[in-house]
């Protein structure tokens, strides 16, 4: 996840063509990247097999994008809470957050996806249901109904995949938020507190706005990483582009077509998003 940003950093160079630049300094690798993409899309429009494969695979784009966006939004929430927990003076909150982060970081994402989808979510829902039955049993029918509202049958693999991705990325984002908050000078908190603001108010109005601005590029890079990692949900048979490509290849035996298109689709998305992150980074730097 972390190595991604460095590898694509120089893309920003191509935005400002200066006339004096020597040919050898041009980002040829980036031109090659674009050329590859254009070439593949050209083949898609001209070759019937590729065209057929593309039309089949592109249906998965909706699921890929939806999964990524929803997971990321929830991950931001988890990450922010766990990040705040990590810097909290409360021993309990601090240790819970630390446990969460270390637990997630010590297990491969693929394993986590299996684990959360087939162990974590079902066990959690079952225990909630059991609490619900117990509550109904002692006469609190209204509360009982809330706890039994969702059962494991209701939870699709899509929902479990989103839970898994969000939970996993929450731990990575927590470390980003923690670092961002800790990068703000101590005097900021003291100034806010000395005006009479509570810890929570100081965080909300003074520390977090600055911290989040500082970590926006890092958050963007993790979003790009999540677009790629969303391919892992295909192991749960969620019909994202990876899964539909596998389906297509499996039924038509056009492996080449399927996986070339799949790779180029990811590449197109990540390169565009990375460019966006770098523009953002640049704008933030100009405003400093």
């Amino acid at each position: 996840m972390a190595e991604q940003p460095q590898a694509i950093k120089p893309i920003i160079e191509i935005i400002d063509f200066s006339s004096k630049r020597k040919l050898r300094d041009l980002p040829w690798w980036f031109f090659a990247l674009i050329l590859i993409a254009i070439f593949v899309f050209f083949i898609i429009t001209t070759n019937e097999n590729y065209n057929d494969a593309f039309n089949f695979i592109k249906i998965g784009l909706v699921i890929t994008i939806k999964t990524t966006l929803i997971s990321y939004a929830i991950a931001i929430l988890f990450g922010l809470l766990a990040g705040l927990g990590r810097i909290s003076k409360s021993v309990i909150l601090n240790n819970i957050s630390r446990l969460y982060v270390e637990l997630i970081r010590g297990i491969p994402i693929l394993v986590l996806i299996f684990f959360i989808a087939f162990v974590g979510v079902p066990v959690l829902v079952d225990s909630m249901n059991n609490i619900g039955y117990w509550l109904s049993g002692i006469g609190l029918d209204f509360l009982g109904k809330i706890f039994t509202a969702i059962t494991n049958q209701d939870l699709s693999m899509n929902a479990r995949a989103i839970t898994a991705l969000a939970f996993t990325y929450g731990a990575y984002l927590a470390e980003i938020f923690r670092a961002g908050i800790q990068s703000i000078a101590k005097g900021q908190m003291e100034a806010a507190r000395s005006l009479g603001m509570s810890y929570a108010q100081s965080m909300r109005y003074v520390i977090l706005p600055q911290a989040i601005r500082n970590v926006l590029p890092a958050l963007g890079n993790d979003f790009v990483a999540m677009v790629k990692d969303s391919s892992l949900v295909s192991v749960l048979a969620v019909r994202d582009i990876t899964q539909v490509s596998r389906l297509y290849a499996g039924t038509t035996f056009r492996f080449r077509e399927a996986y070339i298109i799949l790779a180029v689709l990811y590449l197109t998305m990540t390169v565009i998003l990375s460019l966006g992150v770098q523009l953002l980074e640049r704008r933030l730097r100009l405003h400093d």
Binding site: Q188, E190, A191, S194, L195, G196, M197, Q201, V206, R213
Partner: protein, 248 residues
């Protein structure tokens, strides 16, 4: 001393940082409307004493009373008391993501519950008082140190505090900017604000202070008036300190 009830009472205050005794048994009374300046060599516990008054440091032992109310560790009470005590820091600590106006209105809105219009009006009034109403829409990073410090004073004043604490407000400033900040402070003192200042500006001590405290190794070594300090210092340590800073 008059029979007026002191607005700040510090009683047997101790603050240890591990083995270091930053404040080592200090007792002080400060009456309403008086200006107390705390001087002393670096590391003598002046700033720590000041920061204990609004509980930015949690005292190891001792009592602090603000306007008849004893400070406890209860977060709610501390927040309420802090809103009544303005604090100005050595490094200004303005909020860099907010404009000057927003810096001065934020706590008014959040803590005092004032409307945007009301807060803005108060803010402009205070900015005028510190002499930079035209900078309301600027951002802190575009201001000089002296201007930033004056905004910080306006930010504290906008809460209508009963007490102002100044923690070496001019030590991070270029010489030509010190005066503009001291002028504002002098103004405040003359208007009857209760002030506790940690400062080495002897000119300010002479013209604004009612009382001076000299601290060394966490203890109050001498508690006197400006006249007493300059004309008749009692303690050898005070004499040595004065001779060193007044020499130049």
């Amino acid at each position: 001393m008059t029979e007026q009830k002191p607005i700040i009472v510090v009683k047997d205050l101790y603050k240890y940082f591990g083995e270091i005794k930053a404040v080592d048994g200090v007792s002080l009374n400060i009456e309403k409307g008086k200006v107390l300046v705390v001087i002393g060599p670096s590391g003598s516990g002046k700033s720590t004493l000041l920061r204990c008054i609004n509980h930015l440091e949690d005292p190891t032992s001792g009592e602090i009373w603000i306007d008849g109310e004893k400070l406890t560790r209860a977060a709610k009470q501390i927040n309420e008391i802090r809103a009544e005590i303005g604090m100005v820091f050595q490094l200004f600590n303005l909020f860099p993501h907010l404009s000057v106006l927003e810096n001065v209105t934020l706590a008014q809105k959040v803590i005092r519950g004032r409307s945007q219009d009301e807060a803005k009006q108060t803010a402009l009034e205070k900015l005028k008082r510190v002499g930079i109403p035209e900078k309301a829409d600027a951002f802190p990073s575009n201001l000089s140190g002296g201007q930033q410090q004056r905004v910080a004073i306006a930010r504290a004043l906008a809460m209508d505090p009963k007490i102002m604490l100044f923690d070496e407000p001019t030590s991070a400033l270029d010489p030509e900017m010190i005066k503009e900040v001291l002028d504002v402070m002098l103004d405040l003192a003359q208007e009857g604000m209760t002030m506790v200042c940690v400062s080495h500006e002897m000119g300010f001590v002479r013209s604004a202070a009612d009382e001076v405290v000299f601290m060394d190794f966490g203890k109050v070594v001498e508690h006197t008036t400006p006249e007493g300090l300059f004309n008749n210092p009692q303690n050898d340590r005070t004499k040595l300190f004065l001779s060193q800073i007044l020499e130049h």
